[in-house]
Symmetry: C2
Subunit: 182 residues, 2 copies
């Protein structure tokens, strides 16, 4: 197998659930958001919105620590992150909705997966940790951040300097279990 | 904004729809598949299977050139690609299906989005082009490749050496149109 920078970053990226109090430099945050902005999407629809949350009270609420958040299923480590990016999709075009219905596919989830992973990889290269969050109360997040109707909250990404520089070993299926030559 | 290798690769990656006949070296293909294997996924479920298609007849069929494929909505350029990776998800665990139903989310689409984009970025760094394909006839692809029941075809990725080294300018919304500080 040939080596590459991408593979090296992919190997280093892991879910970071403990952060230093150190803030994220503005120019690093911009580079991370730019990585998401440039992501490909179905028919170049770019269905995404990225809400950058840095307000301590709102982050505490997302973490389930504040009244509004206390009924979210708690991911209390979120409260440690200096930045949480809440990613939404929509409103989807009429054509996208029709096509999506016809083939029963949620392309915009693929699009958001791509864009947020661009962020996670860009963050990793810049020495920052991140963690994907997919389990939350849609309506409570929507109210907390006053999100527009027609946007669906897809996932969060926490961002911050990891408190532990160690990279844990990855638990993954073997290549032969997931790849078939046909 | 700080520069990074990831950003450079993201800027260079674009949908390549014209390929040289040159085959892909085995060790490059392995590195690309490894990039996907190491992708994160919801609860580390790794719901993916990657079918590596190199058989010319099957690729022609995927491209809509062969009898079986002629009723697919044609992406005739696919026939030029020396490799097409067909990505499926499933079978999903009972828990994943329940959770997915409760919150009406297709996490496995996010997972596949991440894994296939890892491939696309790894390919780009190694000088290869790729193109995401999301529009195909699920059942016809399933029959062509004799895919197991319980797996859903999510997307293809074509892979090959680009016939044109030029990188076209990206058409993307501006950062201020997709990022909000809340």
């Amino acid at each position: 197998m040939v080596e590459s920078k991408i593979l090296e970053i992919i190997r280093r990226r892991h879910s970071v659930r403990s952060y230093l109090e150190r803030p994220i430099e503005e120019e690093k945050l911009l580079a991370i958001l730019e990585a998401a902005r440039l992501a490909p999407s179905a028919s170049n629809s770019q269905p995404w919105h990225f809400y950058v949350v840095r307000d301590k009270d709102k982050i505490d609420a997302l973490a389930g620590k504040m009244p509004l958040g206390s009924q979210l299923i708690a991911n209390s480590f979120i409260a440690q992150a200096p930045v949480v990016v809440v990613a939404t999709a929509g409103p989807l075009s009429f054509l996208t909705r029709i096509a999506s219905f016809v083939v029963n596919k949620k392309w915009y989830y693929l699009d958001l997966g791509i864009a947020l992973e661009h962020m996670a990889l860009a963050a990793c290269e810049l020495g920052l940790g991140s963690c994907w969050i997919g389990w939350f109360d849609q309506e409570k997040v929507r109210r907390l951040l006053a999100l527009p109707a027609g946007e669906e909250v897809i996932a969060f990404l926490t961002l911050g300097y990891p408190s532990d520089p160690a990279v844990p070993p990855k638990q993954r299926k073997e290549l032969k279990a997931v790849v078939k030559y046909v």
